[in-house]
């Protein structure tokens, strides 16, 4: 009965979402305050019923209710309870329910947190969010309900969750990534509401900024977690594959990054308004496109679990409606938008425009590269593969260029900045960055490898130019204490996020170039020396896990001849599916990871073992964490709350 309750509350949530998408919107147009006031309770209602649906699904998993198709396909009695919970989003149907539940969470957050917004704006925003919720709920109910039953004869045992997904990464990665994806719907809804109301002003930018920052922070964290998970779970130590599914999350991130910067210009200077709206629309449309690419099964590379064309058509229809509708609205309304101020070619505005152009071009490049094989195949022009060599060849130069501008923009001023001023401010950071980059690169490896030297120089350039800006702001203060405490949270957030970019760049350059690996055939007693470390293979023993059996290797590691630690890579067979998995053994460190994976058992008790030395690989995720922290810190700036109050006073 519980799964039926789930279906029932999903239907109720749909009803409320439909009302939410109509009533407050009409109220906003007719000036009927009572109708607009319905927006908040309705948002809470949608959240309430979707939460019940989530709880029902969780209950079905925890009680091993294999009469539910989705549970039978993705769970098993032997599965530990925490994986049963995360199995909710281990497949297509459940992950869509998670998607729409998170949409309800964001809607609720907007309803609760935006007490100070003008009522007609909040009504329109929540209405647009209601429409998105309603569309996804229709999709779930008609094509992919997680509550469907196997009746009358149902299996006594579930097929088990895919072993690759039985991992901490699955517990945290999808919800985080979805928080980011879906969070972009808030910026989208604010943009649509602004277009509808015709009030496309700096206040609108100020309202959307904190929301966009938080969504962007989640997206950064989600992508970072995905990369980290792939690194330790897939068994060969890669951290970014330029796979279409990864690109689907990178594209919204790139546009959202552009959006954050563009919103800043719109708020502070009242220019780029229509461009900012376009970015907000694009960012969310790219999230939807990502969902479409992944869910419809058009990606030949990744035959997603939903190869059902019905689902694909539904999402395609929704995509066309959302993109077409919002662009049409944009075309009608954006023309009347007036900019409020002027700026010259050498100014912060122009530099941020350059940032936006570079980010959108890189996003377009990723889009072209991702869709090109699909289009060529569809047009019968032949099958090609677009992979890492293509993306790296174009993405790396664009991003390097962007980092150069990132440093210049750090010290630039609004409206007009004399080029001579920029030179005066930046010659020292530039010289220091080149010196430090060359010296560090040489000191680390004893050679001057081009990409590493470039990467380190760019990272130092970010750090030094932002230090210069900090110094500019701090030196006019009376004391050091005042200088440190008087800067706003949003400024510190910005510093942190840009520092995150520097850290990420170091990680990418170092691990891409200086990764080393050895594939060895080892029998017990064999040893291998490699980068100051000696690896001694002690053999393999059988280990029983809750739902798997494992061959666990034992490898003693010596550092410069001294015992350092013992590592246990595993090769597991998951009994329910008879599937084998590599559990790598990791020795993480700030400056290097040791990474050991077991391959196949060879003849005479020998094993193929892959040893890797990954310098600075942790810096990739450290960078993502810093960006996340930066995004959240700036969103928490008190000025957003204060100015919301002002907006109310003015309204």
């Amino acid at each position: 009965m519980i799964p039926e309750l789930g279906t029932f509350s999903t239907i109720l949530a749909l009803c409320l979402a439909v009302i939410l998408s109509v009533v407050p919107m009409v109220g906003a147009y007719t000036g009927n305050k009572l109708w607009v006031d319905y927006a908040r309770p309705l948002s809470k209602g949608v959240f309430f019923f979707l939460s019940i649906a989530m709880v029902c699904l969780a209950y079905a998993f925890l009680t091993n209710d294999f009469s539910v198709v989705y549970v039978a396909n993705g769970s098993n009695t032997a599965l530990p309870w925490y994986f049963k919970i995360s199995a909710i989003w281990g497949g297509h149907e459940g992950s869509l329910l998670l998607w729409v539940w998170i949409q309800a969470v964001w809607t609720l957050a907007v309803a609760v947190k935006s007490r100070n917004l003008p009522l007609d704006i909040i009504g329109r925003v929540l209405s647009v969010m209601g429409m998105i919720t309603a569309a996804f709920l229709l999709f779930i109910l008609f094509t992919s309900s997680p509550f469907e039953r196997f009746l009358p004869g149902y299996p006594m045992e579930g097929a088990d969750l895919n072993p690759l997904l039985q991992d901490f990464g699955l517990i945290v990665h999808p919800p985080t990534l979805y928080m980011g994806y879906v969070g972009l719907s808030v910026a989208f809804s604010f943009a649509i509401a602004a277009l509808l109301s015709g009030r496309l002003d700096a206040a609108w930018a100020r309202w959307s900024r904190p929301w966009t920052n938080v969504a962007w922070a989640f997206l950064s964290l989600g992508i970072g977690l995905g990369s980290w998970w792939a690194y330790y779970e897939l068994g060969w130590g890669g951290w970014w594959f330029w796979d279409p599914v990864e690109n689907a999350s990178l594209m919204p991130w790139l546009v959202a990054t552009a959006l954050i910067h563009s919103l800043a210009v719109t708020e502070k200077r009242g220019v780029f308004k229509s461009w900012t709206v376009l970015l907000a629309i694009s960012a969310f449309c790219l999230s939807l496109l990502g969902t479409f690419l992944v869910r419809s099964g058009v990606l030949t590379s990744v035959h997603a679990f939903a190869t059902d064309p019905e689902r694909g058509l539904f999402i395609l229809g929704m995509l066309i409606f959302v993109i077409g509708g919002s662009l049409l609205l944009y075309a009608i309304r954006a023309g009347s938008v007036k900019s409020e101020s002027t700026f010259s070619l050498s100014s912060r505005e122009s530099l941020l425009l350059v940032n936006n152009i570079l980010l959108t071009v890189s996003c377009a490049m990723v889009l072209i590269g991702t869709l090109y094989p699909l289009v060529m195949d569809a047009l019968n022009l032949g099958k090609i593969s677009v992979g890492p060599p293509y993306f790296n060849a174009l993405f790396v130069p664009i991003m390097s260029l962007m980092i150069v501008f990132m440093g210049i923009a750090a010290v630039s001023r609004w409206k007009n900045t004399e080029p001579s001023y920029l030179v005066k401010q930046l010659w020292l950071p530039a010289v220091l960055a080149i010196l430090a980059g060359v010296i560090s690169s040489y000191a680390y490896s004893g050679i001057l490898e081009f990409w590493v030297t470039l990467g380190l120089t760019l990272a130092y350039w970010i750090v030094f130019s932002w230090m210069r800006d900090y110094w500019n702001r701090a030196r006019n203060r009376d004391s050091l204490w005042a200088a440190v405490t008087k800067q706003s949270r949003s400024y510190y957030g910005m510093l942190l996020a840009h520092l995150g970019v520097a850290v990420l760049v170091v990680g990418v350059a170092m691990v891409s170039i200086f990764v080393e690996h050895r594939d060895a055939r080892m029998v017990a007693g064999d040893q291998l020396e490699f980068r100051d470390y000696t690896f001694i293979f002690d053999g393999v023993r059988k280990v029983e896990g809750p739902n798997y059996t494992s061959d666990m290797g034992r490898i003693r590691v010596l550092y410069k001849g001294e015992p350092y630690r013992i590592m246990y890579p595993e090769k597991r067979i998951y009994t329910a599916r008879g599937m084998s998995m590599t559990e790598v053994a990791l020795d993480p460190g700030l400056f290097r990871d040791l990474y050991i994976a077991m391959g196949e058992e060879l003849d005479n008790g020998a094993w193929a073992i892959r040893l890797q030395y990954k310098p600075f690989v942790r810096w990739l995720w450290l960078g993502a964490l810093l960006m996340t922290a930066g995004g959240i810190l700036s969103a928490s700036d008190k000025r957003y709350r204060r100015q919301n109050n002002r907006a109310v006073a003015a309204a």
Partner: protein, 169 residues
Amino acid sequence: MIRAILMLCMLSVVALKSHAGFETYEFSSVEGERRYAQLARELRCPTCQNQNISDSDAPLAADLRRELHRMIESQQTDDQILDFMITRYGDFVHYRPRIAPETYLLWYGPIVLMLIGLGVVLVVAKKRKPRQPAQSASSSTKATPSLSEGLTDDERKRLQSLLQQDDQK
């Protein structure tokens, strides 16, 4: 979700074995080993879902690795090896699409977009240029003076007090 999906796919197509499939080839030169690693990452396993032959453990990928090792050891150039692979398995096998009329858009599209973007920056900046360049240029390096232009005395006073307020916060 991304990885989850990626993984699910690989699982169903790649034989139900472990992932990292690798042998232990010996190379007569360090250069050969480097080229092997590079090419094994650029060649796509024809039977798997988006995996290079270095990461895949499908039998065909193992064959290709053996072939690659043999060709490198017999002193063939990268071009010869790639030609051989593409003749046998089609363009699909190489992750770096060759530059041909049908891939011009792929390779040159982003470059054209970049140039358009550069044009946009120049045009926008020109359109938004302040009307009296002489006046604002003189006040540009110091941020504030231009703020009070065109204000009445009253307004200027209010602006001053607001700015001070902001400083105190």
